[in-house]
């Protein structure tokens, strides 16, 4: 049984989420935005795993099960995101999100 600092994990995932949020807000390339979303998503999944690992009873297993489902969600999201990238590239010739303005008035 290993001992680990709980506060360190909270700080790590909060920092990773902040980095991901910064990337989503500043990048213009669709693939970079997807990567930033993945970084933020990983920070969120990490929360389930470590709060599960530090809790007693069967709470840890529920945390791990939710993490398994969330990893599947994230992979699905990347697949759909890349389909959007391909469609955007075919329609506009670029994957810069600033150019995707078809729905603007």
């Amino acid at each position: 049984m290993t001992d680990l600092p709980v506060v360190g994990f909270v700080a790590l995932s909060a920092a990773l989420f902040a980095i991901g949020l910064f990337g989503i807000l500043t990048r213009r390339n669709f693939i970079l935005i997807l990567i930033a979303i993945e970084i933020a998503m990983n920070a969120a999944i990490l929360n389930f795993v470590y709060f599960g690992a530090f809790s007693g009873g069967t709470g840890g297993l529920t945390g791990q099960a939710i993490a398994v489902v969330l990893i599947g969600f994230a992979a699905t999201e990347v697949a759909v995101g890349l389909a959007i990238v391909l469609a955007l590239n075919r329609l506009k010739g670029t994957i810069n999100v600033a150019q995707a303005t078809d729905l603007k008035l």
Partner: protein, 162 residues
């Protein structure tokens, strides 16, 4: 300070550095390389937290599949694979928002034990029982979502659009 705590500090430092580097380097292929290191690092953290099944899943799904999908996306959308992105500077408002989010999350979590706590290890057999019995509906939902995602992706990239 125990060897596990040192390992955690090293892994956390690598995670932060690779996440920042992935978003700041200007060549997209280098971004993918940094983010692959990030995913492997997160999987090492899962192993440290006594969750080996999740660690293997992270290696297979993220470091394997997602990285290759992203590389594929880069390959088909640009003429020169190693061309550089236009520089996007660090703007003040998003940076401030990210810092505020970080402080807000750390503050919102509230009182946590300041000392190191024991990590419980579980038998993977019980994890499968939990996954397929207690949390079975979530797994079914994931399957339905993936089916919808397959149909949606094929609709988006099909031939003869416009």
């Amino acid at each position: 300070m125990s060897i596990e705590e040192l390992a955690f500090l090293a892994l956390a430092a690598v995670a932060l550095v690779t996440a920042v580097a992935a978003l700041l380097v200007r060549e997209l292929v280098h971004t993918i390389l940094w983010v692959a290191v990030f995913f492997v690092d997160i999987s090492a953290i899962y192993f440290l937290l006594e969750a080996p099944f999740l660690g293997v899943l992270q290696l297979g799904v993220y470091a394997g599949a997602v990285t290759v999908l992203l590389l594929f996306g880069i390959m088909v959308t640009r003429k020169k694979i190693f061309s550089r992105e236009a520089a996007t500077g660090i703007t003040a408002v998003p940076l401030a928002l990210a810092v505020v989010t970080f402080i807000f999350i750390v503050a919102a979590v509230g009182e946590l034990p300041q000392t190191s706590q024991p990590v419980r290890s579980y038998d993977p057999t019980f994890l499968s029982e939990n996954l397929f019995n207690t949390n079975g509906p979530w797994l079914l939902l994931l399957g339905l979502l993936m089916m919808g995602a397959v149909a949606g992706s094929i609709y988006l990239v099909r031939e003869g659009r416009e």
